[in-house]
């Protein structure tokens, strides 16, 4: 069984937010919800200042606190490592949002449009996959990955089996693939570039690695 994960190259990220937008389009996310976001921050003091970017989304942890705290079992981890939310089971208590050290979860409060008057046809279509009141987050584009695998494609290699953010990144900063396969590009990058995880002290064992800038 594969274990899917991602490497994000902070040397390549230019803070263009293409991943955020591609994710919103792929998953039909309403205003105010970004399953993946790019933090933009400055460090140092004038004149030695540097601006950095940190793309953050669900880290698909091996031991994610969200899974344990969920009282209804809506949040669970698939055998392939992808953490998903079953919208039919979620009661909307938001304990997972409180428990996530990465603030990667969002409450889908209402079906709202980006435009003033009414839902656009794509919004109307896309929002049907969401449920008001439930909590949602990045699911590594699981439906897309699953559909691709069914066609015999390889996630991380073939466009149709790869998360939208990875496909959209113009600099190739995001690499997706099987962490259990030492020969996959993502595994090799994590080793060669000394990939690290966010908040290691939380012992959540994320499947998202960051390659230092």
């Amino acid at each position: 069984m594969a274990k899917y994960g991602m490497a994000i190259d902070l040397k390549r990220c230019i803070g263009c937010h293409a991943c955020t937008v591609a994710c919103k389009a792929e998953n039909a996310l309403p205003p105010e919800i970004k399953w993946t976001r790019v933090l933009d921050y400055t460090t140092g003091k004038y004149p030695n200042v540097s601006r950095s970017f940190l793309p953050v989304m669900c880290q698909h942890c091996e031991d994610g606190p969200c899974v344990g705290v969920c009282p209804s079992g809506a949040t669970s981890k698939r055998a392939d490592g992808i953490v998903t939310v079953d919208y039919d089971k979620c009661i909307g208590c938001r304990y997972c949002m409180v428990a996530c050290p990465y603030n990667a979860r969002y409450s889908y409060k209402e079906t709202s449009s980006y435009f003033a008057l009414a839902l656009t046809p794509p919004e109307e279509q896309g929002y049907q996959n969401h449920q008001v009141g439930t909590v949602e987050k990045c699911i590594f584009c699981a439906p897309r990955v699953d559909a691709g695998i069914k066609q015999g494609l390889t996630p991380g290699v073939d466009w149709e089996a790869t998360p939208a953010c990875v496909n959209a990144c113009p600099t190739g900063a995001r690499v997706f693939g099987d962490l259990d396969d030492p020969g996959s590009e993502v595994s090799k990058l994590i080793v060669s570039r000394h990939g690290y995880v966010l908040r290691p002290e939380m012992n959540t064992k994320p499947s998202v690695y960051y390659l230092p800038a």
Binding site: L39, Y41, S52, L54, V56, P65, V67, G68, V69, C70, P71, S72, G73, A74, K89, C90, I91, G92, C93, R94, Y95, M97, V98, A99, C100, P101, Y102, N103, S107, Y108, K109, Q131, V132, G133, T134, V135, L198, R199, E201, M202
Partner: protein, 300 residues
């Protein structure tokens, strides 16, 4: 500093009312268990306890994203603190309402043994309910300001103190309504005020201990502590929690105790009403302050 907004005002009310109901029940049940004669003292908490906790639960359900699915909260008692707490609170509500029903309908036929057994079970689940409101936050590792065993202790002591506050408040109103026919009031005020002064002392120590530990922490909790003491909610904390919730009721209770011979029972009742209301306000604002100050560490 931004505020923690995932769990807001309704959750603060929930934590407060669940603790209040449990604390009031505990106070009355213990008084009866120890053989206190005053029927008002030994009954107020029983009649307010379970209904308040039920009200708290209804507020929690209202706060859910999908309220009609509230039964889903029971499904993972092996891992989710919410599921464990839902069971504890449900059992407390059931025991509490059985207790009310027995008091109302079996009257003097209720044997002392049955009553004591019921009180013991009720008190155990009252303590569990009050502790749970703190453990719910205390187990959240991602929020360093909450992630301490001091929090359940603080919430338990505050629950008992607000519970006694409610007993004092209702007992005082009852005394004013009954007038001179109410001979047991004075003795009951003594017991309630003395216990509450101890509780306030312990609560103040727990609060102090919480801040000392948080200031020493390197996990980001110190920022939450500074925010409460000096940030935009400092007024709520210092005035609401410390002055109104701790100092004022302590002073009023001390005044009432010291004026035992000089003050009229009516005056003591009046003081009781004010200190009771202060305790309730302080208890609610304590929950609210702790909630808003609970932030994860920034990732950058």
């Amino acid at each position: 500093m931004p505020l923690q907004v995932i769990w807001g005002g309704l959750i603060a009310w929930y934590l407060f009312l669940a603790g209040l109901g449990a604390g009031a029940y505990f106070g009355s049940a213990l008084a009866n268990y120890l053989g206190k004669e005053d029927k008002a003292l030994t009954r107020i908490g029983i009649f307010f306890g379970a209904p308040l906790v039920l009200l708290a639960s209804l507020l929690l359900i209202t706060d859910l994203g999908v309220p009609l699915r509230f039964l889903g909260a029971f499904l993972r008692p092996g891992s989710s603190m919410i599921s464990i707490g839902t069971f504890i609170i449900s059992i407390f509500i059931i025991v509490g309402f059985i207790h009310i029903a027995l008091l109302l309908f079996s009257g003097s036929k209720l044997s002392r043994g049955t009553e004591k057994a019921l009180e013991l079970i009720g008190m155990i689940f009252a303590v569990a309910t009050a502790l749970y409101t703190g453990v719910l936050l205390g187990v959240v590792k991602a929020i360093p300001f909450w992630n301490t065993p001091i929090l359940p202790i603080l919430f338990l002591v505050s629950a008992l103190s607000t519970g006694v506050g409610l007993l004092i408040l209702v007992r005082a109103i009852y005394r004013l309504a009954r007038g001179a026919k109410d001979a047991q009031a004075l003795a009951s005020f003594r017991v309630m005020e003395k216990s509450d002064m101890v509780l306030i002392g312990v609560e103040a120590l727990a609060l102090l201990f919480l801040f000392v530990v948080m200031f020493g922490s390197t996990t980001g909790a110190a920022e939450s502590a500074v925010f409460l003491l000096a940030g935009s909610y400092a007024v709520v904390f210092w005035f609401g929690v410390v002055v109104v919730g701790l100092i004022l009721p302590l002073a009023l209770e001390a005044l009432s105790e010291s004026g035992e011979r000089t003050l009229s029972v009516t005056a003591i009742s009046g003081i009781g009403i004010v200190s009771g209301i202060c305790l309730l306000i302080g208890g609610l604002l304590l929950r609210y302050s702790i909630l808003v100050a609970g932030l994860t560490r920034p990732l950058t």
